[in-house]
Amino acid sequence: MALFLEFVIAGLLCIGLFAILGLVLVLMERKVSAYMQIRLGPNRVGPKGALQTLADTLKLLSKEGLTPRGADRFLFNLAPFVAMIGTMLLLAPIPFAKGFQLWDINIGVLYISAVSSLAVISILLAGWASNNKYSLLGAMRSGAQIVSYELSAGLSIIAIVVLTGSLSISDIIASQADGWWIFKGHLPVWIAFVTFIIAVTAETNRAPFDLAEAESELTAGFHTEYSGMKFALFFLAEYINIFIVCAIGAILFFGGWMPFHIGNWEGFNRIMDYIPSSVWFFGKTFFLIFVIMWFRWTFPRLRIDQLLNLEWKYLLPISMVNVLLITLVAILGWHF
């Protein structure tokens, strides 16, 4: 019974986090984009525009959900839920604060990269079931993109796994108690970090890699035919995916909830410990999210051949060499 109660509480927390994160991230995106384009952004609905995304959500909830004729009804309606469930499963092994982790699995990082491949399935489903050529093209692009960028994302994750010697997320965080990997690991970790950020930006279909929904070429890509709540689910899953990959980035390179410590400055470290661990976690994650948004509102979209060139000719060779370098560093113990 206690287990069941725990289950219910965890589920409710997940759903609540989902909703709140969706609202906050969309609003953040709109504000960030506005300030980067010397505009004001949403500021009329609610105090300083804080209720803007709530209004959008309510509107999408009350909007008609269309299923086009000729679409494969079952798969068309299934696709948004596959996207949602895939994303929700990813929340399980993420430690939001010290000791606050739903499921401390011993293959945490592997689990994340395994389950995140469900996202591509949902996109392929949506693209095919819509019976629309733009959707199909978007889905195929997105499939090619995610499958290829998963490699370099995986390789840059492996870099940290090699340094830590463990796949478990709690071990990875514990290994950064005396300093985050980004500081301890010299240049190879920096290269791994940059590769990781580029690869996850592509994996979450964000601009400048948003070829799956490039509106100037493909109307809206794989979700062209989706309206109302079904579209909202895709939208939400996309933003939660961003949160999750940024959380993974923060865990791998910035030590998750681990406070910022400098060697043996006892006083400084003590002060840093006063800041709650959840603040550290969310601070780092939101910083990475901000960086990804920064990319989006600065860079123009790539062409599909440029996108695949970037992966296969640049990122993949570099990250492969980088894994070798990291292994050398780990074996010789050159990191701090």
Partner: protein, 156 residues
Amino acid sequence: MTLKTYFSNIFSTIRSLLKGMRRTGYYFTHHKEIITQQYPEYKPPLPERFRGEVVMPHNADNEHKCTGCTACELACPNGTIKIVTKQEINAAGKKKKALDTFVYHLELCTMCNLCIVACPTDAIEMAQSFEHSVFDRNSLIKTLNEPGSKLEEGIE
């Protein structure tokens, strides 16, 4: 592609990307650069020659200067203006043509100013108003002379 160009490509790409990010980052942190004019509260000073719609000014005695000569109607390239005239007996007991209704189709008007140029008596002019949103297209058809208005004395 030699190894040298390969690496120089990477570095030049990263440099140019960082340059772009520096610019947007600058704008993100410097809010005084924001140039948004908040419209409903802030109405911008319109340029002098901005043309919003055709109006017919009336003086305090509800008198206008339009003689009903239809010069503007003939000048309008879109058929925006329709002038209805009537026969009126003036003070001297003579029958005279006078303006009955000055119909102005705002929804057809392209604000080209030709009617104002054509008007011999400067009876109409361009106003600066631009808030012409309505729910019904028919309310864009306007009568410019106010009810009961008369021709000003001394205008032929």
